[in-house]
């Protein structure tokens, strides 16, 4: 929870809906969702299983397309972008953090982190340098040359976070990043995410644990694909004291 005012809107979702299947087999994963994430803001999304949290995240990152509404990231309407352009967006602007880490087992930690940059055509040396910076940012620069199966769960998640943060990426999408970790490691991960957001990124965090949602500036509640409630910055104690 930062005392800074959030910056401009980084991610904007308007009237977003997602339907799977047709006719009688149709499933409404999302209905008419409006959501903004600003630079310097961490937004948590909570809800029961099947409420549409992960669908929201995949649509926000351009991995899936909504069946209704618009999604804008850094001013680009994802619906108007080609598959290639959306992939480019994920290399340069959007970073994903998954519950299961999803590191490439055949690559070392630094290679995993450098991957988006290398895929973007950055020279290997420069990509590795940026990756090392990102690993230092999450506190595990000394583990750069280890393979994922040589790291603990917490360390792997830090590598995943570093990969999500490497380069000029500003929007971090985290899907249950603490789900596979013990409570201590989970707190560490949230601290890193929070620090990154405070440094100027925007974050969208999916979680089903309130204690991790408490790290966010706002929390949005989903049920059956619909935003049923939202808690925001005004409820923070610091804000109450502002201007007093």
């Amino acid at each position: 929870m930062s005392g800074r005012e959030p910056g401009p809107v980084l991610l904007s979702m308007r009237g977003v809906g997602r339907v799977h299947g047709h006719d009688e087999a149709a499933v409404h994963a999302l209905r008419d969702v409006d959501l903004d994430v600003r630079l310097g803001e961490l937004v948590a999304v909570m809800g029961a299983s099947g409420s549409g949290k992960s669908t929201l995240l995949t649509i926000a990152g351009g991995l899936d397309s909504p069946t209704a509404g618009t999604v804008t990231v850094a001013g680009d309407d994802l619906g108007s972008l080609s598959t290639k352009a959306r992939a480019r967006l994920r290399r340069r602007s959007i970073g994903y953090v998954f519950q299961d880490f999803n590191l490439v087992p055949a690559l070392t930690a630094i290679e995993n982190v450098a991957l988006p940059r290398e895929l973007d055509g950055v020279a290997a040396r420069r990509a590795r340098a940026e990756a090392l910076e990102a690993l230092a940012e999450v506190g595990i620069a000394e583990l750069a040359r280890r393979f994922p199966d040589e790291l603990s769960g917490g360390q792997r998640q830090r590598v995943a976070i570093a990969r999500a943060l490497v380069g000029p990426r500003r929007l971090v999408l985290a899907d249950e990043p603490t789900g596979a970790l013990d409570s201590v490691s989970g707190e560490e991960v949230m601290r890193i995410l929070r620090a990154r957001v405070d440094a100027g990124a925007g974050g969208l965090l999916v979680t089903h644990e309130a204690r991790f949602a408490a790290w966010a500036d706002r929390t949005v509640f989903l049920r059956d694909g619909v935003v049923v409630d939202s808690t925001g910055a005004p409820s923070r104690a610091e804000h109450l004291l502002a201007g007093a």
Partner: protein
């Protein structure tokens, strides 16, 4: 461009490390890619190694010391290539006046380099025998002065020494083994030498074996000093020389000797051949080795089908690898990888494995070839004089391996790039929807292939035929997904295991369709080949024209010279002494008076112009082939008219008895010979002859009134004119004999023709089938009785063993089992979650085995049945197309199906595959847990 390359490097790094991590799958792909490359490297190296290097070529002819070998005088102004393999002169051979040896040697010596000298040798062929044994074939004999012999002998002396006096010989190891002789034994040599009448006869000499030579590539079989075996050359045309000395015989020297009239094999020129331009200036062109379009199409077609088969077998391994990496690929997508990056990860796996395995396989193939050569040398087999590696072709082996592995990874790569990223990230299993365009394209290609194959039968076009076969196979491969989908309709009628297997096959067509296609392609190919091979064997059996019934002996002797009667008697005695003969009758040919025993060659050996006469059989007008009346027919007309039954040829056959010119004449017989030949209706044929009728083997030659029209034809050697002297109509009968007895006349008809009978041989019936040893002894005895004596025992058609068909069946079994095994093994791993669910709901442990067996059965029964039907159709197409391959239509090509071998494939492969899957699968079901799909 740079960005593209950097992204490719990242994808390549992942692909290479994945290949190292999945060792089992990588090894499987590497073996399947590398094994054919290894075989190619092995066979290619061994094939090239059978061709001697220029140095070896020279050594094989010249030994270690001679600079050159000069042949006898042919004609002045010759032109030759570097090895004297091809040469030509302006005039026809035989038109040169004989030149004495001494004066020609003087001329040759003047053309040699300074310091070199000529060594006169005698070279020729001889039959070798001992008292009991006749070595098969002709040996090559080289006689040289004793002081120079050691320099000219090519093989090493293994036992004894080289000859140093007349009456001694050194023989090659193979000949010594055939004659069972060693140092100190005596052998008989019968060289070919000119006869007094200008022909050729066999001389005879005996000699002591003083040395046995080691096996070698090249050189003569027998070495001796002059005066042992071969007669002295009468003139320079029959002489030969070697050149000994230190100075090389260059191309200029060779040309100078060519101008004198001899060919030269020079060590220096073989190693430093003249340029193409120099040869072209002499009118000697390189051997273009023109390959027919048909041969190219055949090789390309077989190669393409082989690559397709390999791709189909390897593809599923990549498909499963890509599916197992689905989550990893989805992570890459989430990190910003485009579809091309995902494709590259899978494809580069194929590139890496293909390149590495091909390289290793090529090296292994060449190494294995070296081992094979070493073993052959140890066994005295000189098949590979030098180890020659086809370096310029080896890179193509790597390219081929790359192409196969990359092609196998192509479709899995495309599927991986199109996967549902979200589903993969969330751990859900998803199946890519099959594209309808592929089976439709497959049906179109299949239809085109059928049309092309049908068209090739009429047009006898090999490229069209090969295109049709490839199109049919390719069409079936592309349609295999649709075939699998069709099988899916059976699911509701099956039990749990069967229903599971069928639905799994339909839903995982990326894995099952290639396996089905591989089985279809393999079995179709094998069945096609088996039908063709069996039909070819039956065709050869139908074409075979026996000389007589089995066990009957046919012998002939020369009709040249004045002592024919004495030789005939000696031949008859030899037959009776060596074979279990029952009775012997003489055979005679009807020839024009004065033609028997005529001089046919001049003293120089050139053919003398003599008139030719023969008896021709005229067919009725309605039985004449229409082609005979066409002055010039196009190939299409020939093919079309060639199908007319009147134009079908009687086939080729071996001439039984020959006249003075070496050609087959008209047999004259009163029934004694025909009655003993033993063919069907022999006694009726003999009776017809006794009644004065002639026998014809071709029913088209018999006129409606039961007569045969004979015409005495003559070819005038002076004018080149062909005339009919006279015609004769005689009673006739169609005999049951083969085409070599096309016309048999009784003595009265021979008299009417104005011909005379000339004895040419004997026919002997036997009390039992003579053994091959007895036949060999008879051959030796006849050769001693008459140098040109010949005997053969009719043993019936001896076809090829059906080994080829069974080897093909074995190949189909291996490929069928391999394809099924790969797919079922891959399916087993993917089906773990489903099997765990089955266990959780109470399925017995044996269900797992039944599921595996059912999965195997779905693939292999579908593939084997479609493949067998396709193979039978293609086999029929190939066999029928053979009928019109040549301009003369050949209806004896019949479609013959080797049903036992086909059944072994069509039934055996499914049984083995299903049974193997059942036996080799563990029966314990996995437990339900948080299993990531």
């Amino acid at each position: 461009m740079l960005a593209w390359w950097r992204g490719l490097r990242a994808a390549g790094r992942i692909a290479a490390r994945d290949a190292r991590r999945a060792k089992g799958r990588t090894a499987l792909v590497a073996v399947m890619v590398g094994l054919p490359i290894l075989v190619g490297g092995l066979v290619g190296t061994l094939a090239l190694s059978t061709v001697p290097t220029p140095a070896r070529q020279a050594q094989a002819i010249l030994g270690d010391q001679a600079q050159a070998r000069i042949g006898g005088l042919i004609q002045p102004g010759l032109a030759q290539d570097a090895t004297a393999t091809s040469w030509y002169g302006a005039d026809a051979p035989g038109a040169v006046e004989p030149v004495d040896v001494a004066s020609y040697e003087d001329a040759l010596a003047g053309a040699l380099p300074a310091g070199d000298r000529l060594v006169a040798v005698r070279q020729g062929g001889a039959r070798l025998s001992t008292g009991d044994l006749l070595a098969p074939g002709w040996s090559s004999v080289l006689e040289a002065p004793a002081e120079d012999l050691a320099a000219l002998v090519v093989p090493d002396v293994r036992d004894g020494t080289l000859p140093d006096a007349p009456g001694q010989v050194a023989v090659g190891a193979a000949w010594a083994r055939a004659l069972q002789v060693g140092v100190g034994d005596r052998i008989t040599l019968q060289p070919e030498q000119p006869s007094a009448t200008g022909g050729v006869e066999l001389g005879e000499a005996t000699a002591e074996v003083v040395g046995v030579l080691a096996p070698a590539a090249g050189g003569a079989s027998v070495y001796a000093v002059p005066g042992t075996v071969l007669p002295a050359p009468a003139d320079a045309g029959r002489a030969a020389w070697f050149v000994l000395g230190d100075a090389p015989v260059t191309w200029q020297h060779v040309r100078a000797i060519n101008e004198l009239g001899s060919t030269v094999v020079s060590r220096h020129v073989v190693a430093h051949p003249p340029t193409r331009a120099e040869l072209a200036a002499l009118g000697i062109g390189a051997d273009d080795g023109a390959t027919s379009a048909g041969a190219v199409a055949m090789i390309a077609g077989v190669g393409a089908l082989g690559v397709l088969e390999a791709v189909l077998l390897i593809g599923p391994a990549f498909a499963v690898g890509a599916r197992r990496s689905a989550r990893q690929l989805a992570v890459l997508a989430s990190a910003g990888a485009e579809r091309r990056h995902l494709r590259q990860v899978v494809l580069l796996g194929g590139v890496v494995i293909g390149a590495a395995s091909s390289l290793v396989a090529l090296v292994a193939g060449v190494a294995l070839a070296a081992v094979v050569r070493w073993v052959c040398l140890a066994l005295d087999v000189m098949a590979f004089p030098d180890l020659r590696v086809p370096w310029s072709y080896l890179p193509w082996g790597v390219v081929l391996g790359l192409v196969v592995a990359t092609a196998a990874a192509w479709f899995p790569a495309r599927a991986a790039s199109r996967q549902d990223v979200v589903a993969a990230l969330s751990g859900r299993r998803s199946e890519a929807r099959p594209r309808r365009a592929v089976p439709v394209a497959g049906l179109v290609v299949l239809a085109a292939g059928l049309v092309a194959a049908a068209a090739s039968v009429r047009s006898a076009s090999t490229p069209l035929l090969v295109g049709g076969v490839v199109g049919i196979e390719l069409g079936l491969v592309l349609s295999s997904g649709a075939l699998v989908a069709l099988v899916g309709r059976l699911a509701p009628r099956l039990g749990v295991a069967g229903r599971f297997a069928v639905r799994d096959a339909v839903r995982q067509r990326g894995r099952t369709a290639p396996a089905v296609a591989a089985i279809v392609a393999a079995i179709a190919g094998v069945v096609t080949a088996a039908v063709y091979v069996e039909s070819g064997e039956q065709h050869r059996r139908a074409q075979y024209q026996p000389l007589a019934a089995e066990g009957v002996v046919v012998a002939s002797f020369s009709t040249e010279g004045d002592d024919v009667e004495a030789r005939a008697a000696a031949v008859e005695r030899a037959l009776r002494a060596t074979l279990p003969v029952r009775d012997v009758v003489a055979a005679s040919l009807a020839v024009a008076p004065g033609s028997a025993g005529r001089e046919t060659r001049d003293p120089q050996g050139a053919d003398l112009p003599v008139d030719e006469t023969w008896v021709a059989v005229e067919r009725p007008p309605d039985q004449r082939c229409p082609l005979d009346d066409l002055l010039a027919a196009s190939p299409a007309e020939r093919r079309e008219l060639g199908r007319d039954p009147r134009c079908v040829a009687e086939g080729s056959y071996q001439v039984v008895w020959t006249d003075a010119h070496g050609g087959g004449g008209t047999l004259v017989d009163d029934g004694a010979v025909v009655g003993r030949l033993g063919f069907a209706g022999a006694q009726d044929d003999a009776a017809a002859l006794r009644s004065g009728a002639v026998l014809v083997s071709d029913e088209r030659a018999l006129w409606p009134d039961g007569t045969v029209h004979l015409a005495l034809e003559r070819w005038d050697a002076q004018t080149g004119e062909h005339t009919t002297d006279r015609s004769l109509v005689v009673p006739g009968r169609v005999s049951g004999m083969p085409a070599q007895y096309g016309l048999v006349v009784p003595p009265p008809v021979m008299d009417d023709l104005g011909y005379v009978a000339v004895p040419v041989g004997f026919l002997a019936t036997t009390t039992r089938m003579p053994s091959e040893t007895e036949e060999s002894r008879a051959a030796l005895a006849l050769m001693r009785a008459d140098g040109a004596g010949y005997v053969t025992v009719e043993r019936g058609y001896r076809g090829e063993q059906p080994l080829v068909v069974w080897l093909l069946a074995l190949a189909a079994v291996v490929v069928g089992l391999g394809a099924t095994g790969i797919s079922v093994a891959l399916a087993g791993a993917e089906a773990r979650p489903d099997l765990a669910t089955l266990a959780a709901v109470g399925a017995a442990p044996g269900v797992r085995r039944r599921v595996a067996a059912a999965q195997a059965a779905v693939l292999v029964v579908l593939g084997a049945s479609v493949g067998t039907v396709t193979g039978l159709v293609l086999g029929r197409v190939l066999v029928v197309s053979e009928r019109a391959r040549f301009e003369v239509y050949d209806p004896t090509w019949l479609v013959v199906v080797p049903w036992p071998a086909i059944a072994a494939v069509a039934l055996g492969v499914p049984l083995l595959a299903t049974g193997g899957a059942w036996l080799l699968t563990r029966s314990r079901l996995p437990m339900v847990s948080r299993i990531a799909a």
